[in-house]
C-alpha cells in the first residue's frame, strides 16, 4: 500500500513537472511558406500577355516588361 502511494506520488510529481518544461519547436521556424509569383493572382489587375501558373510565360513577361525601361528600343 505504502509502495503504491510512493509510486503514484512520484508519477504525479513527474506529470506536474512536465508543465514546467520548455516546449520544443523542433528547430523549425513557424514562418509561412510563400507561393510562387508566377502562379499569378485572382485579382483583376494582372497584366495581359501571359498566362498565370506558367513559369516560362512569367519569365518572358518579366523580360518584355523590363525592356519597356529601355528607351533605346523606342529612339532607334
Amino acid at each position: 500500500m505504502k509502495r503504491a502511494l510512493i509510486v503514484s506520488a512520484v508519477l504525479a510529481a513527474a506529470l506536474g513537472l512536465v508543465a514546467c518544461g520548455e516546449r520544443s519547436t523542433g528547430g523549425k521556424t513557424p514562418r509561412k511558406a510563400d507561393s510562387k509569383v508566377w502562379q499569378g493572382t485572382d485579382n483583376a489587375y494582372a497584366a495581359a500577355g501571359w498566362k498565370a501558373s506558367d513559369e516560362a510565360a512569367w519569365q518572358e513577361q518579366m523580360r518584355v516588361r523590363a525592356q519597356s525601361q529601355n528607351e533605346y528600343n523606342r529612339v532607334r
Binding site: P30, R31, K32, D34, V37, G40, T41, Q59, M62, A66
Partner: protein, 211 residues
C-alpha cells in the same frame, strides 16, 4: 531564372521623388514609413548626384543574418521578404542594413514601435498572392500580376531600373556606352557583390560622402 535587382542611374535621377510617391500610393504605406527615398550625395556641391534608395534585396542580406526570429526569406527570384506575423520589431535588421531600408511604424499613445516594413520589390509577402491580407500587411503584389516594381516603372527619366539583373544591367551598359560616362552604380557592389562574380554586372560605385 530571373534574379531581381535595382539599379539607380545617378546621371539621370532628377530628385523628383516620383518613385517615393509611386511606392507610397501603390502600397498605401502609412505616414512615417518610407520604403523608398531619394538621397542627394554632395548636396549643394557642383556635380551633386541624387539616387533613389530602398531595400536592394542583397545577395547575402545582412538583415537575414541578424534577425533573431528568422522572419526573413528569399524567393526564387532573389527577392528578400519577411513574415510580419513572426517579426517582433526589435530593429536589429535596421542596424545591419547598409541602405537603411527597414522602417518601423510608430503608433499608439506611447509611440510604440511596430513590426518592420520595407520594400518588397512589389512581391507582397507570405500570404496568398493578391489577397486582401497580403495587401494589408505588405502592399500590392505586382510581380504576381506580371508587372515590375511601381517605382521603376513610374520613373520619368528611367533613372531607376528594376527587374532581372541581367536585363537591367544590359540596359544600363548600353546607356553608359552611348553617353561615355557615369558607369558608377551606387550600392551595387554592397548589395550584389563584386562585378567579377556577378556575371558582367556594372562596375561598383566609388561611394561619395552623403550630404
Amino acid at each position: 531564372m530571373a534574379r531581381m535587382k535595382f539599379i539607380c542611374d545617378a546621371e539621370r535621377c532628377i530628385e523628383c521623388n516620383g518613385c517615393v510617391t509611386a511606392c507610397k500610393a501603390e502600397h498605401e504605406v502609412p505616414w512615417g514609413v518610407n520604403r523608398r527615398r531619394v538621397v542627394t550625395l554632395n548636396d549643394g556641391v557642383p556635380g551633386e548626384k541624387s539616387i533613389s534608395v530602398a531595400c536592394m534585396h542583397c545577395s547575402d542580406a545582412p538583415c537575414m543574418a541578424v534577425c533573431p526570429v528568422d522572419c526573413f526569406y528569399r524567393t526564387d527570384e532573389g527577392v528578400v521578404l519577411h513574415d510580419k506575423d513572426i517579426c517582433i520589431g526589435c530593429g536589429y535588421c535596421s542596424y545591419a542594413c547598409p541602405f537603411g531600408a527597414p522602417q518601423f511604424p510608430t503608433n499608439g499613445t506611447f509611440g510604440l514601435r511596430g513590426k518592420m516594413d520595407k520594400c518588397t520589390f512589389c512581391a507582397g509577402g507570405p500570404e496568398a498572392n493578391g489577397s486582401e491580407a497580403e495587401f494589408e500587411k505588405y502592399g500590392r503584389n505586382r510581380l504576381a500580376e506580371g508587372k515590375l516594381p511601381a517605382c521603376a516603372e513610374m520613373c520619368a527619366t528611367k533613372a531607376l531600373l528594376g527587374g532581372d539583373g541581367d536585363v537591367v544591367a544590359d540596359i544600363f551598359r548600353t546607356r553608359v556606352l552611348n553617353r561615355g560616362k557615369g558607369s558608377e552604380v551606387w550600392g551595387w557592389g554592397t548589395a550584389y557583390g563584386k562585378p567579377a562574380t556577378a556575371g558582367g554586372a556594372p562596375a561598383p560605385a566609388k561611394e561619395p560622402t552623403k550630404s
